[in-house]
């Protein structure tokens, strides 16, 4: 059984694999503890008559002890241990390259990045709410003044058309006076509201500074990861890797079909497109 078969998504293969493992298992009621998985050792085959349906075999795998899981060719444990060994080797390699701390630092900065993004979302949201509320207030006052002005205007028309009695004129005079005071008060308040709306734009500065910090952090993360990727690439693939990740001028166009190696190729390409 090799790892390729284990990777297969084909359920027939998986079932066959499972059955083959199940058949190799030794049923032993006298040894309650499953022995630790061992490397290849010959296996007394389970009696053919005992071949169980896959479902039942599955149950027995999940229940504890009672049978010996150690024999050679015990694939699940073998794979498990291989993965574990690889993980240990990767971790050691990272440590030797000095990356484990760097990766740790970089990953540690991610919650900070999340917090900063939340801060930006909150700040911009608050600024928007504040501005909208202020605008609504201002609009009410503005509408109020507009309506009063319309009414005043109509009254003045009547006055100039000699349609007003003396009593009406006195009332009109009082209304005009009130109107002027109201204009003074409303324009004062609205001026203050305009200042508030202006001040609310300070979110741009505050969020901008935080955005810069996150950008720097992301750049640092990218650099670390690219460097790690380059350092762990086998030597024969490293040059190609560097060209892919570091971009910049095309150093070696040989064999590449996705880039133009010189201006003449660029011109040919453009010409073929009709330029």
């Amino acid at each position: 059984m090799n790892s390729d078969q284990l990777k297969s998504g084909d359920s027939d293969d998986l079932e066959a694999l499972f059955d083959s493992i199940a058949e190799q298992r030794v049923w032993d009621n006298d040894t309650p503890e499953p022995q630790p998985a061992a490397v290849a050792a010959s296996v007394p085959a389970a009696s053919a008559a005992d071949s169980m349906p896959a479902a039942q075999a599955n149950d027995s795998v999940e229940s504890s002890g009672g049978f010996d899981l150690s024999p050679s060719g015990d694939e699940p444990n073998d794979v498990f241990h291989r993965v574990g060994t690889l993980t240990r080797k990767l971790h050691d390699a990272l440590r030797e390259l000095g990356y484990d701390k760097k990766v740790e630092d970089v990953v540690g900065s991610l919650p900070d990045a999340r917090a900063r993004l939340n801060y930006i979302a909150n700040l911009t949201g608050q600024a928007a709410e504040k501005v909208l509320a202020t605008v609504e207030n201002s609009q009410r006052m503005n509408d109020d003044l507009a309506e009063q002005a319309r009414s005043m205007d109509a009254q003045w028309d009547r006055l100039y058309n000699n349609e007003m009695s003396l009593e009406e004129f006195k009332a009109h005079a009082q209304q005009s006076r009130d109107f002027v005071k109201r204009v003074a008060s409303h324009t004062n308040a609205m001026g203050g509201q305009l200042t508030d709306i202006m001040m609310a734009q300070d979110f741009h500065d505050l969020t901008g500074q935080v955005v810069n910090k996150i950008t720097t952090m992301a750049q640092g993360l990218e650099e670390q990861l690219v460097q790690l990727l380059l350092d762990t690439t086998p030597p024969d693939q490293r040059k190609q890797m560097e060209e892919t990740w570091l971009n910049g001028p095309v150093i070696n166009a040989e064999g590449r079909t996705d880039v133009c190696a010189n201006q003449s190729q660029v011109d040919d390409l453009l010409e073929s497109l009709g330029f």
Binding site: M199, D202, Q209
Partner: protein, 129 residues
């Protein structure tokens, strides 16, 4: 000195913030202001022009607020210039450093018009003494 005569330099790398400060100063009564986007540009403008007051941020590229303040205080022609810092940095050590370096005031963002007016008035009052 008449408020109208005060020539103020506003230093911040965010143009929206410079605009806000400029508008506020105008509302308070100071209508003679110029702008700089970092400490380096600010320093050259200060050396060239006849400014009476500096309002500056701390976090800026090229030359930050502390460096600008240091350069102002060590230049014989500029060392008496009042400097009001307006910054998002609220750490105590920054505030202490600013005071020790000779800043005349320190405002933390986000700030209100009232705060700016209060600090500005206080510093200007000491200028005429």
């Amino acid at each position: 000195m008449n408020p109208e005569d005060l020539k103020i330099l506003i230093v911040d790398d965010f143009s929206t913030m410079r605009r806000i400060v400029r508008n506020l100063l105008k509302e308070i009564g100071y209508n003679n202001a110029d702008e700089a986007e970092d400490g380096a540009v600010a320093l050259s403008k200060l050396k060239a022009g006849s400014f009476n007051f500096v309002v500056s941020d701390l976090n800026m590229p090229n030359m930050n607020g502390f460096e600008l303040l240091q350069n102002i205080r060590s230049d014989p022609g500029l060392k008496h210039l009042p400097v009001l810092l307006v910054t998002a940095e609220a750490k105590k050590e920054d505030i202490v450093t600013a005071a020790q370096m000779g800043a005349n005031g320190y405002i933390v963002k986000p700030f209100t018009k009232a705060t700016l007016e209060e600090k500005l008035t206080k510093i200007v009052a000491k200028m005429s003494v």
